[in-house]
């Protein structure tokens, strides 16, 4: 469709949110629109951007920010005060395949490998996190990085694969 200044749609458009009845939402959770949430648990004072999917089994702490275009899969736990940038991808399957024994895979066909992001950490936009890793407290994963192993607390990692590029003075 072509849109002209005189026919701009307003935000009275439906927010286009898909939040399954089994989602546990804390207080003051802010959702913008175009989100798909099911089976997850979200803490208090969490902001969730557009085009975000959060799968079942995910636990998100209090005062987290989940930015637009981000995918959080089953197996991921975010502690309190975690920042997740735009277009971040979590993973829970080391060797993904479409099929097992010639049939479309079901959940029974692969082990869901967990990822833990600890309090106060920040995941830069466009980052990809392989599964089975822990991101330490207050660590920062640089934008566009691919984190393939544990990220020590109070460090900045960057690159593909991500390596420590700097230490951060821990907050007192």
């Amino acid at each position: 469709m072509d849109i002209r200044p005189d026919s701009v749609m307003s935000l009275s458009e439906p927010p286009c949110l898909r939040v399954a009845p089994d989602v546990k939402l804390g207080k003051n959770v802010r959702l913008i629109g175009f989100a798909n949430l099911y089976g997850c648990e979200i803490g208090d004072d969490v902001k969730i951007g557009t085009f975000v999917e959060i799968q079942k089994g995910v636990k998100i702490g209090n005062r987290c920010k989940i930015s637009s275009h981000t995918f959080i899969c089953e197996g991921v736990t975010l502690e309190d005060e975690v920042f997740v940038g735009h277009n971040v991808t979590f993973i829970n399957d080391r060797y993904p395949h479409a099929t097992a024994n010639g049939k479309l895979q079901t959940e029974a066909d692969w082990p869901c490998i967990p990822t833990l992001v600890k309090r106060g950490a920040s995941i830069g936009s466009g980052a990809v996190l392989l599964c089975g890793i822990t991101v330490g407290e207050n660590a920062i994963i640089g934008a566009g990085s691919v984190a393939t192993r544990d990220v020590p607390p109070d460090t900045i990692v960057a690159g593909n694969p991500a390596r420590v590029v700097k230490s951060i003075t821990p907050k007192s």
Copy 2:
């Protein structure tokens, strides 16, 4: 909008699917929501995640999984049993430009360069595939990789640019 536990929207929300009438869907195609498909041909028993766009001319075989946030452009062919992770980006234009001779480009202004992903291959989440390449049977492109050339069958490639890091024993 702010959403509280007592006002959770249910999945009775419209699925927000845009599937053009010219899309050819096989049997048991599963679409979740927030997808934009036009002019493409999808095989049987294919699962397509949220926030996926599949353009005209794309052919997807049987028993494929297309994960959320993925973009499949014109020129791409996926054979049977291909896994495409989350947030995967295909490309069909080597030197993209907004305009040609001062006017917004149309399709006539660039050659669409094809990409072929062969049977049983898996594309890891967050991967980017440059155009004009073939991904061999059962190959795996590691998460977050940028594939710039052909991927040999039965290998794992990773990195930016992606290089072979491992061979896979072919399935008997």
Copy 3:
């Protein structure tokens, strides 16, 4: 939901567009669907793909193409005839955090660092652009690259971090 060939939805589905009343749209702006725009200024003859978010304060010139799955944040200016590929991520915050002094951050808590993309430049799909940089006229950022510094005009940069790989003969 499962969709069968005999129950395909048509494009009479709502376009699912969220365009805030404060968006300034030029002439012949084309929006497809699933977009979230607010507080931005878009020039004439601009095409904007699906799953795109454009934040307040963004200025986009004439005859630009913004491809699907792309995020353009506050602080970004695109001059005329800029191509932005699919799944491109801009950034405006060097050290993002979820909270400040134990409360969810608000805009007052970080400086918005600008990014300028000059006339005729092309940003490849899957690229991430760190903030505070200028992309020169007619430059190309390769697909999947992470641009961490200024991109000289009439060059192609690629990789993570992106480096100059080629010069382009300026258009006469």
